[in-house]
């Protein structure tokens, strides 16, 4: 699937969300402000109609911050969020509330995302009430349809409480609650990572169906690159607040280019008997987003890092096949200037 096939629903343009840490007493008296936490530092991403974009990365890489910034749970500190080409970055009041009808979010933990004191009916009705939709009868019709979409029989479950449901069913209710406002864009933040393996597939399948049937744009956030391949058309890999690689899902899963993506893929245990995984060893831990290394952000851990990498930050460059990679190794001009550089894919294959 090519990117131009569907019209863009949500676009992030050089999006930045920085958090200002609260100063301690001493530094506050000294007039110093602590460095900002650069959770999101210049992200460009487009999610089109009927498209599921996978966003992969480790905890703390800013993938949840991106999701929350796109649905405006956070107000970005720089760049823009466009919804159908209209900026929604700094909307306030009524306009923001209107945008909230269009963009919904589903959280990771199906056990704490539903208020235990409300019935399933009340939970799904809540967004309708918040937005003052319809008389009770119309709301009921909408609730019935939302429950129908997630294949939960309304007749038996309307008056049950979340504690009566299994984890998978709760996550379906959470999806129904997001769907009832008929949004055009849904952020699914690790929707299956707390579910048992045996039911993960059904929730993923549901997201896939909803995207196709209702034409939803979905941002699927996950730390598990293996699940991404099943439902996503397009994948973006994040590291320390930036996208390091982006492209069609098949391409990235078949042949990851960025050393970080390669490591992420190699971390997935393989069930094929006799399969040997080649791993590139990474040094140390992920640096703190308060203290980002100079040059390439991955250079502090990258086994291929050169002097160039530790001094000059690479751009997200578009390759011939349309994929985008943020790595000096794939920049033709630089590779010519530094003949010693070889793209790591050759070494991995060896």
């Amino acid at each position: 699937m090519t990117r131009a096939s569907t019209p863009a629903v949500v676009t992030a343009e050089n999006l930045q969300t920085h958090f200002q840490a609260r100063a301690g007493l001493v530094s506050a008296l000294a007039g110093r402000t602590p460095p900002a936490i650069r959770a999101l530092d210049g992200v460009d991403l487009t999610i089109g109609e009927r498209e599921i974009v996978g966003l992969v990365g480790e905890s703390g890489c800013g993938k949840s911050t991106l999701g929350m910034s796109l649905v405006r749970m956070y107000e970005p500190t720089g760049g823009d969020v466009l919804y159908h080409s209209e900026p929604v970055t700094h909307l306030k009041g009524r306009a923001l509330k209107q945008y909230r009808r269009e963009a919904q979010i589903i959280f990771q933990d199906p056990y704490s995302s539903l208020n235990p004191r409300l019935t399933i009916g009340q939970i799904i009705e809540e967004p309708l009430k918040i937005h003052g939709i319809g008389p009770a009868l119309e709301r009921r019709a909408l609730i019935a349809r939302a429950l129908d979409h997630v294949r939960i029989p309304a007749s038996t479950h309307l008056d049950s409480y979340p504690s009566d449901l299994s984890g998978g069913q709760r996550q379906r209710v959470a999806i129904a609650r997001a769907l009832v406002l008929e949004p055009r864009f849904i952020v699914a933040d690790e929707p299956v990572s707390m579910l048992d393996v045996s039911i993960q597939a059904s929730v993923l399948e549901l997201l896939d169906e909803l995207s196709r049937e209702l034409g939803l744009a979905v941002l699927y956030i996950s730390h598990d690159i293996a699940t991404v391949g099943y439902i996503c058309n397009h994948v973006a890999v994040m590291y320390l607040g930036q996208i390091v690689e982006e492209g069609p899902a098949e391409d990235i899963l078949a042949e990851p280019l960025h050393p970080y993506t390669q490591r992420l893929m190699a971390a997935i245990p393989n069930m094929t008997p006799g399969a040997v995984r080649s791993r590139i060893e990474l040094k140390g831990d992920v640096p703190s987003p308060q203290n980002i290394p100079p040059g390439c952000r991955f250079s502090s851990r990258c086994p291929f890092a050169t002097d160039l990498c530790t001094s000059v930050a690479p751009e997200l460059a578009t390759l011939a096949d349309g994929r985008r990679v943020r790595c000096h190794l794939y920049d033709g001009a630089i590779a010519e200037a530094y003949p010693g550089l070889t793209p790591p894919r050759a070494e991995i294959a060896a």
């Binding site: 480790e58 905890s59 299994s166 998978g168 069913q169 048992d196 393996v197 045996s198 039911i199 993960q200 597939a201 059904s202 993923l204 399948e205 730390h223 598990d224 690159i225 293996a226 699940t227 391949g229 099943y230 098949e250 899963l253 078949a254 042949e255 490591r263 992420l264 893929m265 190699a266 971390a267 997935i268 245990p269 393989n270 069930m271 094929t272 008997p273 791993r279 990474l282 831990d285």
Partner: protein, 356 residues
Amino acid sequence: MTALQDLNARLAQKPAARLEVKNLCVAYGTFRGPFNAIDNVSFTVEPGTTLGLVGESGCGKSTVVKAIMNLLPEATTVTGDVLLNGKNILGLSDKALQQVRWTQISLITQSAMNSLDPVLCIGDQIVESILAHEKIPYGLAWARAAEMFAVVGLPAARLREFPHQFSGGMRQRAVIAMALSLNAGMLLADEPTTALDPIMQDQIMTRIRGIHEHLRRSMILVTHDIAVVSETCETTAVMYAGKLVESGATADVLQRPRHPYTMGLQNAFPKLPVRGTSRQPLISIPGTVPNLLMPPRGCRFASRCPFAAALCHAEQPELIQSSDGHAVACHFAERAPEFRLAARQAETWRAKEAAI
């Protein structure tokens, strides 16, 4: 020969342990009656091998480990035998247990943060567990701790640091170092990487595999990740709703499963695509795990099994071992090849879902 080499040599002489669990039953006392978390589970870990105990949340796999280590809450009924090198360690007194824990059997827990004391430096915690069992000077115990840090790939200088100064992955490695410090013959690893990021998970598992190759201790690895088991363990036991449903050599169990639940687990497990081959779609298992306060009369998987017949709902299947050591608790185990083919079809499971 230095004192440290002497100590290392002495500890290295400890043989790997053999663990035999026989007819283990655990019932938690609850408000609404006994909760049969484990029902008649038996398995054996041969010296120097690793057993992978797989299953989903609530299947009782962690309870097995807790029962072996005698860590279950007071109001729990435990019956059966846990034979460590032929000696029953179930129901030992606290004092007798202290002799067994850490020296013969040690535990790597799920959340490293909870098993480390936040106010003691990590080195002292390891030293403390060594000194509790070895009458050796403090300095020697510290040297041993430093050596264990090297084994798990942490610099010895960080022994002086406190748990909060460690990242999650480093803490987990420190806990592994502690479990290794007395070279216990049996290691129990209860979801050692669950809370970690994928790369860190991989690094820790690689480390555990390396340690296993090198030290040849016996080990039980409890996990929900069948791929990890497939890479790490010689034998695999699959649990479902408090019962052992299948066990045997890992390659047999995971490549040629005989229990429909294991087949379903295989289908549902996300895999990376292999270049040039089309990938199987993910298939989930319909339905939910039965409530163990009121366990069903027949096979516990019957309500979700696409191949269940009337017999399955009426009678519990026994775990029957065939000559190749592959054991399965299914009334129709002999039809496994036929089931395996059908289980790969999404329609098989979808038909069951429609029936529920």
